[in-house]
Point group: C2
Chain length 349, copies 2
């Protein structure tokens, strides 16, 4: 009885079937005769049997495990993505290995090493800073990759991202429609070397063009950081230098919150005198003293779609696989800081 009291063998013996039938019952129940299946299931329950995934992984060479590699779990943007990923993965019977990279390439590589050792099915990566070479390196590590919040260069791999150009356009179109030329529109942006900042700006300019206005009329202010404090400075600055500003678009919510305060410091009321739109729809946007109109990103969906893409990719064979680069649409959430007016009832664009 030595080797009969553990693993499939024990179940098989109790159910009076073979090892293989136990495996089939668990993995391809449809090919097992109902009666047999019942007996096996009963034996499993009886023995409190828990299959050993390590054995399956060893045998199959791959694990139902997805690596999720993000720079920071405390950041609400990434934690929202993470929620989408964990949910989608759990629904499909996959386990998520959470790897926090702190944007450190060495740590990131270490995480990939571990995922490879575990024979993870693949990895979902949200790189903070990611030059092409770093990405190429990651791809080389082996497991299949889906890039999140970044579009993979043509033909290099799969990715899901949120359309930031469109988001900027939505924000400024709203401002244009609701302030109706009452005064200049100001863009408070971070460093344009950051792709998000550059894209959102481009969208802002597109909105001008769509409205038949010269995009150079957009007044641009660069904050030294994308924080509440830097936003406040920018807001004061605007109150002083562009006192007739009718609307301000900030490329993130922290900035927007600060700008409102800075504007107040300078004696301007929001939304009475100036409308302010943020970006990201962080929790703080809804809870502030003046609830923020902001561009909402479908972060949850980003995560879910990333899982879908990865699992779809698993079906295809490595060589003959066409990469997909999905883009998700942001949405504007209108709150008090930049309220709707009758003019806005026809959606811009």
């Amino acid at each position: 009885m030595a080797k009969h009291d553990i693993g499939f063998a024990a179940v098989a013996r109790l159910a009076g079937v073979s090892n293989a039938t136990v495996s089939n019952t668990l993995n391809r129940p449809e090919i097992v005769a109902p009666a047999t299946r019942e007996r096996v299931l009963a034996a499993i329950a009886e023995l409190d049997f828990v299959p050993n995934r390590a054995a399956a992984t060893l045998r199959q060479g791959t694990n139902r495990l997805i690596g999720l590699v993000i720079p920071d779990i405390v950041n609400p943007f990434y934690s929202a993505i993470t929620r989408g990923v964990t949910e989608a993965a759990a629904e499909r019977g996959y386990t998520v290995a959470l790897c926090v990279s702190h944007d450190d390439p060495d740590l990131e590589l270490q995480h990939f090493e571990m995922l490879a050792e575990h024979r993870a099915a693949g990895a979902l990566v949200a790189p903070l800073t990611a030059d092409a070479s770093r990405l190429a390196q990651l791809r080389r590590v082996g497991s299949r990759l889906v890039l999140m919040d970044r579009t993979a260069p043509e033909g290099t791999g799969c990715s899901v991202a949120i359309d930031d150009v469109r988001g900027g356009e939505l924000a400024v179109a709203h401002l244009l429609a609701t302030t109706g030329g009452r005064g200049p529109i100001v863009l408070v942006n971070g460093d344009r070397a950051i792709p998000q900042c550059e894209d959102r700006r481009e969208g802002a300019r597109n909105a001008f063009i769509a409205a038949g206005i010269d995009p150079d009329e957009l007044v641009e202010v660069t904050a030294r950081e994308m924080t509440v404090d830097a936003g406040r400075e920018a807001g004061r600055d605007i109150a002083a230098r562009t006192p007739d500003a009718a609307g301000v678009f900030c490329t993130n919510d922290q900035l927007a919150l600060g700008v409102i305060r800075g504007l107040n410091d300078g004696g301007r009321d929001v939304p009475g005198d100036v409308s302010v739109v943020g970006y990201g729809d962080l929790p703080l946007a809804a809870d502030g003293r003046v609830p923020l109109t902001t561009v909402e990103q479908p972060k949850d969906e980003l995560g879910r779609v990333a899982v879908e893409i990865l699992l779809a990719e698993l079906g295809t064979d490595r060589s003959s696989h066409t990469h997909v680069a999905r883009t998700l649409e942001p949405r504007i959430v209108v709150r008090e800081s930049a309220p709707a007016t009758s003019r806005d009832s026809i959606p811009a664009s």
Copy 2:
């Protein structure tokens, strides 16, 4: 050469050693002669060899994998814990399987099932609602458990928690010391059926006792929810019914933020007329219009300690193991909403 081009065998052949020596170089380098070790390492690098953890897990019966089971990853309290856990785990070569339970016992059980299949070394669980029977059930699933943010009943298992009684005491001691009897102190609390609410209240009362005041002098207000909106209502209420209040302690930061606004609505200035203390030190506490004095919980440390306890437990054998129940100390962070005064220079208690 069939079986020589993969796994330890390939490395062993290239390095001119045996299988076992490869294993030893990787797992117990100190017992391998330096020269041999070098040769093996060189071979590994040469072949881009990635060891297969599944094989090791199968052989050893246990995986260097820790399950982290939390109700919600978007909640900043849990994401902060998660950060601590992922960091501590990565430092020790463990992988973290993130399981989000949404406080659903079925889902939670499913996650435990998966962890068991993976032969996880153990699990760290932060139960939102957890009656004894549910915990007992989890413990039965097999893998070793460490409870987080909850103290395990005497002798039932390991746990790490943050001392909420102490936190409440710190908050109210600060209020007492800085308002010095100028007026009543108000407690804005949630439902006392929630252990945290009950504990923080107890601490508040302890602070009264320590100051030689009858704890029944603490004015208690119960908010219908622990949200900004409910806090605002409570704040208005206080302005109307306890106009001479000198200090308010709210059992979370959302409540505190709302209370400040409600107090303002009622014409009371914070901190001019009233000091307000929150609890939790969420990001919104520091960034609000009036930066919040609040009780900071060492969430990161909670996560790190949980990992340490689990890994320590792994060393001991199952039967002869004494459970540890660690308690972490909160700390008060003084900001503008309840500033320090000279009277406060001597720490209360």
